[in-house]
Structure formats: structure tokens, C-alpha cells
């Protein structure tokens, strides 16, 4: 595939720890996104994320190499707990991050009023996919970029881009979750903790893996069996939306919401560039620095090749993907799920 376009999209890479951030910076990220060690971001996992001091040194490291740092503040503050999000905004601005990735209108309002110069990106958690919704955030909070939900085809993205006054960022690789970002209540139902307010999808303290007599693995979340993998099957994340369930019409069990699978848009990269996408996002703040190194370097090369009009040669990333399966999801066609 050959493509030749002048404007180079930004490669936005994940970092769950300072070591991963350095890896992303060193291997070709244009921007790295990360979060604090609390409920203000949607990857609030044990041992993951940044202290204020770590973010400070990480921003300095990235800046020396002209790489931007974006801070994910992409959860929704419950009533009475807004101070945590305000504190996070205050620290992020003080520490010099290049943009805040927000989802909640209260957080957006606070950041815009208190810090008129801070750049705001609209998180995928806001689930804004129509021109009307996106324009609202642009007009009210001066949002400069929207991260699109993974529900649009490439022609739809192209059409949308013409109608909105901000940049567009699309996921190109990684976890392919339930297409109701910011609205999913499955974890909350099963554990009492909220993906969108506590920042934890399938909190680790509620996850259990049990091996059976035939070496099959049962995954449980707070006692609810989510799936059972035979020893020849590749398991996925212990999330309810990737579980297999029995139903009257499906007595053999089936993936009711989504299956363990990862997004990989390598083959669609030239079309996405042509559609005017301003930034490509890689999912995976919960992953290791080894993942970051391999994925970031691969996509760096692929984007550079696309921009140079060369054919794209991306290494096989299947071994890193959930369930060892890949999809182009709705980007390729609305037939997905």
C-alpha cells in the first residue's frame, strides 16, 4: 500500500510506569499518555501509574527529546469527591504536562476556568462520536482534540473531521473493549467498584484464576465465573465484556458482548492518514515496558513508511495480542459485532 500525505500524524503511546515512559520516548513516540496513582484515570491498577515526583522527572525526560506528555484524567468524579480531580488538574498543570485528557464536563470546566492556557483533549471515555457532541466540548471548553470511540468506519471519520473544529485521534492498536466507553457498568454490577468513577475495570483484588482437573482455567470476578478456557485455548483479560456465557438460545455458551481480541489497524494505516486523522493512539498503559518497546518501535516505523510513501512493513504483533486474535473492528465495517 502506498500513500503520500504532507501532514504527519502524531504517534501517541501508553506508559504505566516511568520506565515504560522512557521506553516510549526512546523508541519513537511523539507523545506519551499516563496517569496518577489514583481514581482520576481509567487504569487505576495496583503498582501502576505515576506519583507527582515521577511525573515531574518524566516530563523533563520527555521534553529533552521533544516528546509531549499527556495526562489521562479520564474518569468521572462522584459527588463529594471532586477535590481529588481538582488536585490532579492542579498538579498536572504545575508539573508541565502538554495536555489533559478529560472526559467529565466538571473536570473540563475546572481546568478551563482555572488554567485558560492548558490544552484539553477529549477522552474516548466521553464517548463523543457525533459532530454535535464534539462541537459542544469544543465550544464550551475549547477542547483541541477528540479521541474517537472505536465505532466509526474510516469514511465516517473522514466526514466527521470535516464538520468539527478540532483534531482527531484514533486508536490503532491494543485492547478492543466493549464499545460503550465511559458508560459501562458491568464491573460495578459485579464488584461494587466502578470503571468510570474508581478507574478500575475488573479490579485485581476481585480476580481469581482456578485450574480444573483437565487443566482448564476458569476466570472469576468476585465469584462470578466469566469464562473457562481449555488448555488449548488462548485466554483474554478477566473482564465481563470478554466473557463467555450460557443462554437459553446458546446452550453451548457464547461471547455475549465482545470476544478476547485486539485491534490492529496496520493495513488501514494509509486510509486513516488520508482521512485526516491527526494522531494515532496505542492502547496499553497496563502493559510492560517490553510491550511498549516492541509496539512503539513497530508503529513508529510503519507511520514513517506511510508518510514517505513507502509500502508498510509492520512486524507480526499477534503474540502480544489478547486471545491471540486481531480485528479491524468497526473501522473496516459496521458489520463488527
Amino acid at each position: 500500500m502506498i500513500v503520500s500525505i504532507a501532514i504527519k500524524p502524531e504517534l501517541v503511546c501508553p506508559a504505566g510506569t516511568p520506565a515504560s515512559l522512557r521506553m516510549a520516548v526512546d523508541f519513537g513516540a511523539d507523545a506519551v499518555y499516563c496517569g496518577f496513582q489514583d481514581a482520576t484515570n481509567a487504569r487505576n491498577f495496583p503498582g501502576l501509574n505515576f506519583t507527582f515526583a515521577e511525573l515531574k522527572s518524566s516530563v523533563l525526560y520527555a521534553r529533552k527529546k521533544s516528546v509531549k506528555v499527556l495526562l489521562a484524567l479520564n474518569t468521572f468524579p462522584p459527588a463529594g469527591k471532586f477535590a481529588l480531580w481538582k488536585n490532579a488538574v492542579d498538579h498536572a498543570v504545575m508539573l508541565g504536562v502538554d495536555a489533559l485528557i478529560i472526559a467529565d464536563i466538571g473536570v473540563a470546566h475546572y481546568a478551563r476556568v482555572r488554567y485558560p492556557d492548558i490544552r484539553l483533549h477529549l477522552s474516548v471515555q466521553a464517548s463523543a462520536s457525533s459532530p454535535e457532541a464534539i462541537k459542544y466540548y469544543c465550544e464550551e471548553f475549547d477542547v483541541k482534540r477528540v479521541v474517537l470511540p472505536r465505532i466509526l468506519t474510516i469514511p465516517e471519520i473522514k466526514a466527521l473531521k470535516r464538520e468539527i473544529p478540532c483534531e482527531v485521534e484514533c486508536f490503532i492498536f491494543g485492547n478492543h473493549g466493549l464499545m460503550a466507553e465511559g458508560r459501562c457498568g458491568l464491573t460495578n454490577y459485579a464488584t461494587g467498584l466502578s470503571t468510570n468513577m474508581d478507574g478500575v475495570c475488573s479490579p485485581a483484588q476481585h480476580v481469581a484464576y482456578e485450574e480444573g482437573r483437565n487443566r482448564e482455567t476458569t476466570t472469576k470476578l468476585n465469584g462470578f465465573a466469566i469464562d473457562c478456557f481449555s488448555c488449548s485455548e488462548n485466554p483474554g483479560y478477566p473482564t465481563i465484556c470478554k466473557g463467555r456465557y450460557y443462554a437459553a438460545h446458546k446452550p453451548e455458551g457464547y461471547y455475549a458482548f465482545e470476544e478476547p481480541i485486539s485491534l490492529n489497524l496496520a493495513e488501514l494505516l494509509p486510509d486513516l492518514v488520508k482521512a485526516g486523522v491527526d494522531a494515532f493512539k496505542i492502547e496499553g498503559r497496563q502493559r510492560s515496558k517490553a510491550y511498549v518497546q516492541k509496539v512503539v518501535s513497530s508503529w513508529r516505523r510503519a507511520i514513517d513508511q506511510a508518510m514517505a510513501g513507502e509500502s508498510i512493513d509492520i512486524p507480526d504483533l499477534l503474540s502480544l495480542t489478547e486471545g491471540h486474535k486481531q480485528t479491524q473492528g468497526a473501522y473496516e465495517s459496521k458489520r463488527w459485532r
Partner: protein
Amino acid sequence: MKGGAEEHGDRSGHKLSLVSGLYFLAVPLPLPIVNIMFKRLMVAITTKRPELFARLAGHYHKTFLINPTNLPFVIELSPDPRQPRLRACRRRSTAHADASITGSFLTLMGLIDGRLDGDALFFSRDIKVEGDTEALVSLRNALDDIEGSIAQDIAAILGNLGLFALKVTRRISDRVHSH
């Protein structure tokens, strides 16, 4: 869970014999002497890497069982900065552990060396985890945030022989996991 040695043997025959050789070399190892070395390593790492314990938060007092399927012993880890403990013991005499991780020696080495991704190894069933998932996730993230790696630290403490062994291990691991 696939057995590590068999699995890697399927991928490449000569690696099976190498890993089998490692097993037979390790069988006669006197564990009390191994444990003296482990104790020294643990003290040195605790001194060198205080940041490791911050990410463990409330889990440093827990016991982790590291189970290399193709070695004749398992390793108990208690990452308490005040009383760190790393102890090899025979499988039949394993004490209670809060969480365990099982995989081939090369796979587990690749993990603590920061060269392999834990989630990918779980997806491919190269590792198996049991017990306290939160403690394991914390430990994984703590080890992953190390500049360099714990494996590199250990090799450096062991001197030239350790560094050579790490180099060889990395070379084999890269070949095995690139398949």
C-alpha cells in the same frame, strides 16, 4: 498450562536438550548453599532498589511462589524491605504462598529481565498465575519499573560468571520467544 520444557522443545529441539541439561545440572545443587547466595542477593537488591517496594504498597509482607517448571526446585519470595526473603525449596516442602507464578525457567527469567510482556505470556499460556491476583499485579508492575532489570542486578552481583550466564540466557530466550 503447557509444560515449559516440552513447549520450547516443540519450537526448537536443541533448546529442549539445553533446558533438560539445566534441570539435571540443578538437581544435585545443595539448597542450603543456594539459599546463602539468595540471601546475599536479596540484601543487595533491597539496598540498591528501594523504589521497588513503593509499588508493592500493601503487598510486601506477602509470600510469592515462583515455580520454574523445568528446575527441580521452587523459589519463595517475601519482598518485605525490613526482612526480605528469597529461598529455594523442593516442591514437596513448599510452605503456604499467597500467590504463585508458574512457567519455564527461560520465560520467568525473561519476565524479571524486563524483556517479555507478562500479559502476552498469560495470553499464550506460557505462564500460569494463582492466588492473590492483586499482589501479583503489584509485583509485576514493581519489577517492570526498574531501570535496567533485577536479572541484570543479580548478574552484576555474581560478577563475570553471572554476566556471562545472563548473556547466554538472553540469547537463548530471544531465540525461543521469537518463534
